[in-house]
Amino acid sequence: MSSQVAKEVAPHEKRELTQAEERTEAGKFFSPYADIHETERAVVVTMEMPGVAKSSIDIQLDKGVLTVKGTIDSTKYESVRPLYTEYNVGNFVRTFTVSPQVDAAGISAAVADGVLTIELPKAKEALARRIAVS
């Protein structure tokens, strides 16, 4: 996979959520940029949520829908005033439909440097099996 064309880092605008449902919380919500990879054992979702602390991440799986929400700490902006801005800050939310072949009990998540990694292991029945010819 190392032969793939490398993407260059370029400034990209954050995707603000257009209201799919009414939100009762104040503030802007953005859709985090995500990568989805599938290995033999699991589906791995990697999401960029800068400014979200580990304790402010909420992950829920309900009826096959995985909802990830990250809230930023806006208190640090209380004493400052913007002089020049290029990006906006806000909370992050994104939902994914999860295949029923995922082992819901085995889902794990980790966060490092503003990047959240969720590992959705495949259920035993869904794992590919190699059948030996006798």
Binding site: S2, S3, K7, V9, D35, V44, P50, L83, G114
Partner: protein, 141 residues
């Protein structure tokens, strides 16, 4: 043995992407100098100090280099994305690579008092104004 033909579209896409990034860069901008427009910056004021913020999710602290000289600030580094080589890709929205950006601030900075913090993918720099650049109140007799 597998012989892979070079994808004719890859070259074109690469060129188009490079041209796009030049158009999007601020090379000719009056505000900043330097070879890139990444990362995006927010400049905030906290009293007399400048606070500069940049979102750099996935960048390791040790891969970041910040320099301050006079009234210019330079942020450079690299972002790497590691994943299993055998994994198949369903979706790829994140980008990785090297970046280098220089901005000119509207006042001289006291480089000795600059502090930097990198937490949860956000770089926050506190840049105090140099004494010579601070406004002085004139007493009227």
């Amino acid at each position: 043995m597998v012989i892979r033909a070079r994808d004719p579209f890859a070259t074109l896409l690469g060129l188009q992407r490079a041209m796009d990034s030049v158009m999007g860069s601020d090379w000719f901008g009056s505000r900043t100098s330097g070879s890139g427009a990444f990362p995006l910056l927010n400049v905030l004021a906290d009293g007399d100090d400048f606070v500069v913020e940049a979102e750099l999710p996935g960048v390791k602290k040790e891969d970041l280099d910040v320099q301050v000289r006079g009234d210019t600030l330079r942020i450079q580094g690299k972002k790497t994305i590691a994943h299993d080589d055998n994994a198949s890709i369903h979706r790829r929205e994140r980008a990785a690579g090297q970046f280098d950006r220089t901005v000119t601030l509207p006042a001289e900075i006291d480089s000795a008092k600059v502090s930097a913090e990198y937490r949860d993918g956000v770089l926050t720099l506190r840049l105090p104004r140099a004494e010579s650049a601070k406004p002085r109140t004139v007493n009227i007799n």
